[in-house]
């Protein structure tokens, strides 16, 4: 049994693993946030991209995957935009989308490569 003052007992391998892992996790999470904080602020903006790898034919229809991304450095609330695939037009509402956050929507279309257009109606900058 230990006959030395307990205050000078060093960690076992478990203790060192816990310390090392914790430090690593902290750095892994803090450094990217710090890096983003130091970059110039970009205004809220949106990018709409087709995702061919997630587009599939179901029955006679094509399920076309479309990604909407907030490319700004701040979150946006109550985003309204209109997406058009071929002749089909749909209204999309997003309650809250964070900086660099992406949302994927599946739209139905008669053809795989129907042109996609979009129009931003409004958003709120918190």
């Amino acid at each position: 049994m230990s006959d030395v003052p307990t205050s000078i007992i060093r960690p076992t391998i478990v203790g060192w693993l816990a310390r090392g892992t914790s430090l690593l996790l902290l750095l892994m999470l803090l450094i990217p946030v710090l890096q983003k904080s130091l970059t110039h602020e970009r205004p809220i903006a949106f990018a709409v991209t087709r995702l061919p790898e997630r587009t599939a034919k179901v029955g006679t229809q094509w399920h076309v995957a479309v990604k909407i991304e907030n490319t700004g450095t701040r979150a946006a609330r109550d985003v309204d935009l209109t997406l058009s695939v071929g002749s089909q037009e749909i209204d999309i509402h997003i309650d809250l989308i964070g900086a660099s956050e992406e949302r994927t929507y599946i739209l139905t279309s008669g053809t795989r490569d129907a042109p996609i257009t979009w129009r931003l109606i409004k958003f709120e900058a918190p």
Binding site: R10, T12, A18, L23, L30, T104
Partner: protein
């Protein structure tokens, strides 16, 4: 290495006496970490399932989050000096223990958010990081007070100071911070304020001070600590001071979470701060009793 305690690493089988029980140092360390993990989830699981926390992770600025996180590191260091996750303080560095509770908070938060589907591989890594960091703040605090949460006795080491005035103030800040975290992220304080008349807001403030006084009076009925203080030597002064601390902590939370800005008009942030301070005051008073 029987006397390997002075070396960089203690062997697993090195015998230590923890809580009157002789056990392997490695086993004791596993128990300590298990206690930290349980304390982390015990305190913060409700917040891990709170939608407002996920939304705040999206809206909070990176710099604000970093400041908030660094503040939590200091708070955790203070909590560890008063409580902790080890049944006995058998290792020397509280700063290393602070790093470990932050790590435990990250692991507990990430695991819970992942199995709940809140974070997944398709989500943006920056947003994942922000969500985990934000949730790890209360989770790590749970780990830092695991001993108080899960039994094992109140430590009340207060190694930082023997000044009873400062000890009272530190206990208030820590309790207020810990307790307020369960209410501050939710939208309910705003909902409460929306339905309140001004006289109800004022009454909330009076009620907060009264409750603070009641808890203090009950606490001091059992001890004579107040007589050892040189500055905060009356129960009413302590009640008002505690309320002011709770108000400041509440305002800090509301600012960090984007619910209030002290540079806005007073009527836009004072009522909500008063409502949150009701909970925070109770936490501060309880903090002096429990921590």
């Amino acid at each position: 290495m029987k006397s390997g305690s002075a070396a960089a690493m203690t062997p697993w089988s090195f015998k230590v006496r923890i809580g009157g029980i002789v056990q392997n140092a490695g086993t004791a360390e596993v128990y300590d970490l298990g206690r930290a993990l349980a304390g982390a989830l015990f305190v913060s699981l409700p917040l891990l399932f709170t939608e407002e926390m996920w939304n705040i992770a999206k809206t909070i600025g990176g710099t604000t989050l970093l400041l908030f996180f660094l503040g939590a590191v200091v708070i955790n260091r203070m909590l560890l000096s008063q409580s902790g996750y080890r049944r006995e303080r058998w290792q020397p560095s509280l700063w290393w223990d602070t790093i470990v509770v932050m790590g435990v908070g990250i692991v507990a938060s990430a695991a819970t958010l992942f199995v709940s589907g809140i974070i997944n591989a398709e989500l943006n890594t920056y947003l994942i990081g922000k969500t985990i960091l934000l949730e790890a703040i209360p989770t790590s605090m749970g780990a830092a007070v695991a001993l108080n949460q899960l039994g094992g006795g109140d430590r009340l080491q207060d190694e930082g100071t023997s000044n009873p005035d400062i000890r009272m103030l530190v206990g208030t800040v820590l309790g207020a911070y810990l307790f307020a975290f369960n209410v501050a992220p939710t939208a309910e304080t705003g909902t409460v304020v929306a339905g309140q008349a001004w006289w109800q807001v004022a009454l909330t403030s009076v009620l907060s001070v009264a409750i603070s006084y009641m808890v203090i009076a009950v606490a001091h009925a059992d001890d004579q600590e107040i007589e050892t203080r040189s500055i905060v030597s009356s129960e009413w002064f302590e009640a008002v001071l505690s309320y002011l601390v709770a108000f400041a902590v509440s305002l800090g939370f509301l600012w960090a979470f984007g619910y209030a800005d002290p540079f806005d008009r007073l009527d836009q942030w004072v009522p909500q701060t008063i409502v949150l301070a009701y909970a925070t005051t109770l936490g501060g008073a309880a903090g002096r009793l429990v921590l």
